[in-house]
């Protein structure tokens, strides 16, 4: 925690925060960078008439360069949006709509974020064909299946860089190479990847890339879309009227939020390597302790192609929501934050072939910039104690201990 900042992270007795894939706290250094642009430097960056506007414009352009830098892009290729959801909507609908007369097919993956899947479903309603590729048991895409799925009129392939639930990293460079060879655009939702793993849009042949502010210790309400200029990616805007962001995204740019996203990218770029090593050690500590304390704990998703801050674990025979109620001292997620309001088990885990009963027992543990060893130890303690307590009152655990094969039971349809 940097010293001397005007904003201290609050210490209100909140639970230990282990949900860094849902959202991250805004880094105090980011808040510091943003504050002047909320108050004394509040100009509209599009006001070309006075210095308030010029100052804001300068700040926005500096931020744009910082965002570009972390993905190896040119600043001119970065447009600001209201967040990754908008970026993903714009990338898919924008490209599809622009090319609708000639190309009518889209390839994506079943484990994508809801906003990619929903955009694809919307395009299907409009008459586009969409291929939803399955994933392997480790959550990774099969490249041969990708090759086979691309058709002559495939306009875009959209594959997320890092999955929000299981943290697995897709083989971006290989996907980019295939897409370039086949002459289709490659879009990647990198909301969970930026600042966690090195990204280079040129080396990876990425044509469009979505960025989120609040997943990388930046502010909420801001994101970016990288749009390649050479060869140029053409797309139709989603929000029009004003012509900002090269006509691709209208609306007054929120200068402080742009500055915050830029600063978050700059910090992430500087500190990525050190942070990754630290989180990897914390994650190993967590995993080793929890598996030493509890039998029948299963890791979902690939063990190595994975960002260091994510663990997705199934605690067999203990229902996730019931467990969440017990671990009151922890903020973790059972399934994705967007779907946990519903009772269906995670569609991502189901896509991995995780059985429904195991999917119901999963927790996502997200470690991040402010996670400490003490927090990890306390979390392990709380989870282990509660899992043990709930297993003691689980009829399934009892049956398994008695040697009953749960599959042999005729469960009532319910």
């Amino acid at each position: 925690m940097p010293e001397g900042s005007a904003i201290e992270r609050n210490d209100t007795g909140y639970p230990i925060y282990l949900d860094y894939q849902a959202t991250t706290p805004t880094d105090p250094r980011v808040v510091e960078a943003m504050l002047p642009y909320f108050t004394e430097r509040f100009g509209n960056p599009h006001s070309r008439n006075h210095r308030y506007g010029w100052e804001a414009e300068d700040a926005v352009e500096t931020a744009r360069a910082q965002v570009a830098s972390i993905i190896g892009a040119d600043p001119k290729e970065v447009i600001f949006t209201s967040g990754a959801t908008e970026s993903n909507n714009l990338a898919l609908k924008g490209v599809a709509h622009f090319h609708r007369d000639k190309k009518r097919h889209i390839v994506t993956v079943v484990t994508e974020h809801k906003c990619v899947l929903d955009s694809c479903r919307y395009l299907e309603e409009e008459g586009f064909r969409v291929t939803y590729l399955p994933v392997q048991q480790n959550g990774l895409l099969d490249l041969d299946q990708l090759r086979a799925a691309i058709e002559d009129d495939t306009v875009i392939v959209s594959v997320m860089a890092v999955n929000n639930e299981i943290g697995v990293i897709q083989p971006l460079a290989e996907i980019g190479k295939i897409c370039r060879e086949r002459g289709t655009y490659f879009h990647t939702d990198a909301a969970q990847a930026v600042g966690k793993i090195p990204l280079d849009v040129n080396a990876m042949n990425i044509d469009l890339l979505s960025i989120s502010g609040h997943k990388i210790y930046g502010p909420k309400g801001i994101g970016a879309l990288y749009v390649r200029r050479k060869p140029r990616v053409r797309l139709q805007p989603l929000i029009t009227g004003g012509g900002q962001e090269r006509g691709l995204r209208s609306g007054t740019l929120p200068t402080p939020l742009c500055v915050g996203l830029g600063e978050a990218c700059a910090i992430a770029e500087r500190e990525m390597a050190g942070e990754a090593a630290r989180l990897e050690a914390l994650r190993a500590r967590f995993y080793e302790q929890i598996t030493a304390r509890l039998p029948e704990v299963y890791l979902n998703g690939d063990t190595t192609h994975r960002i260091p801050g994510n663990l997705n674990l199934s605690f067999a025979y203990v229902e996730g929501e019931g467990l969440m109620m017990g671990i009151k001292g922890l903020s973790v997620s059972s399934g994705s934050a967007c779907t946990s309001a519903s009772l269906e088990p995670s569609y991502v885990l189901r896509a991995l072939g995780v059985e429904e009963e195991m999917a119901h027992t999963s927790l996502r543990i997200g470690l991040g910039r402010y996670t400490t060893e003490a927090e990890v130890d306390a979390a392990v303690e709380q989870i282990a104690a509660n899992v043990s307590k709930l297993r003691a009152m689980s009829p399934l655990w009892e049956m398994v201990q008695e040697g009953v094969d749960l599959r042999s039971i005729q469960w009532a349809a319910h």
Binding site: A22, T23, F42, N49, R51, D118, S331
Partner: protein, 368 residues
């Protein structure tokens, strides 16, 4: 010390909004997460929704938070599914360009929509949506929304009003206006940029612009911008709580400007306007020249709307009002706000008069 008189472009953040945002920024939580941190974030969003519902006199479910006025306008114009849309000739680009096939309702010399034209067009049938702004960003002219609503509803058409410039500056009741959709924006009323809201009548079937997530009742996907939403609500509260002194300041300014520069003209002066906006023309002096001169004197004003291009163009708003192109090119916009002072206004009047005197002097010399 700069005198900032460009509040219609953006307004500085109110201290109450700043405090609310800093409190929210110090916390971490995704409002969709069911744990305590997520619930705290959700509570901030819902408290803000209550504030807006009270302030603008609408139901809680009517408030959809967006990334700003532009997104809200796009959502309103495209979200109804109306095949035929009518928009006024003085709308902001985010309304006009949201539906390129929209038919344009002309305005009169004061910038007021032509109600006879509207009635005749509605009578021909097929109109799904009418979008007329509450108050104009360049002139501050307030539209007769009640008449627009009466005519539109009589023919079964919906009404959207862009209240971006009006919200926080004049009292607004969504219920009394009886429109189906209304846009409000935070940063014009002293809230943060990057957040706005579309108010919709309860149960109104709106097609979302951004998909993928159940936020805002499935009508606007994307993680809620919690600190900005909290700042928005605090700014709205502050705007309603504090008596607005801008009308007296503005009227005083206009009197001084008109007295100091014979031939100066205030556009839209004959009709109801926002209490903070002056659109004034100094004949014979380009708007750019006036803006630069005022900037050098430490006063920030604008030559027309701040949008993307930066290029000098004749204002479409003034053109639609039938203002002579020469006169339009000499019009600047002075817009006051919550922190404007008598000193700001006085310095503005002096600097403007000084420029007028200088140009007169030069012309005199040239003529000699």
């Amino acid at each position: 010390m700069m005198a900032y008189l460009d509040h219609n472009a953006t307004s500085p953040l109110r201290p109450a909004a700043r405090d609310a945002m800093i409190a929210a920024l110090a916390e971490c939580g995704n409002p969709s997460s069911p744990h305590a941190a997520g619930r705290a974030a959700r509570a901030r969003v819902e408290a803000a929704r209550r504030t807006l519902a009270l302030a603008f006199d609408c139901a809680l479910d009517s408030v959809i938070f967006t990334s700003g006025g532009t997104e809200a306008n796009n959502l309103a114009v495209r979200g109804t599914g109306a095949a035929t849309v009518l928009v006024s000739a003085v709308e902001h680009d985010s309304v006009r360009e949201a539906e390129r096939r929209a038919e344009v309702i002309p305005v009169d010399g004061n910038g007021i929509v032509d109600l006879e034209w509207l009635e005749a067009r509605l009578a021909r049938g097929g109109v799904g949506l009418v979008s007329v702004m509450l108050a104009n960003n360049e002139t501050g002219v307030i539209q007769p929304i009640a008449d627009v609503v009466r005519l539109a509803h009589a023919e079964g058409a919906l009404v959207h009003t862009d209240a971006t410039q009006a919200a926080g500056r004049i009292p607004l009741s969504f219920e009394s206006l009886d429109v189906e959709l209304m846009t409000v924006s935070a940063h014009k009323l002293g809230g943060p940029p990057g957040v706005g809201a579309l108010l919709v009548q309860e149960g109104f079937p709106l097609r979302p612009l951004l998909r993928g997530g159940r936020q805002e009742d499935g009508r606007r996907a994307g993680t809620e911008n919690v600190p900005a939403i909290a700042g928005f609500a605090a700014a709205v509260e502050a705007a309603l709580a504090t008596a607005d002194g801008t009308r007296a300041l503005r009227d005083g300014l206009e009197a001084r400007l008109l007295a100091s520069a014979p031939g100066a003209r205030i556009l839209g002066a004959l009709v109801d306007r926002l209490p903070n906006t002056t659109c004034i023309a100094m004949p014979g002096v380009a708007a750019e020249t006036q803006v630069m001169a005022l900037d050098l004197a430490g006063i920030a004003v604008s030559a027309g709307a701040a949008c993307s291009s930066g290029k000098v163009r004749t204002s479409p708003v003034l053109a639609a009002m039938g203002v002579d192109a020469e006169l339009a090119r000499s019009a600047i916009r002075i817009s006051l706000g919550w922190n404007s002072t008598a000193d700001d206004v006085g310095r503005c009047a002096e600097a403007w008069w000084a420029l007028w005197a200088r140009t007169r002097g030069r012309k005199t010399v040239q003529a000699a």
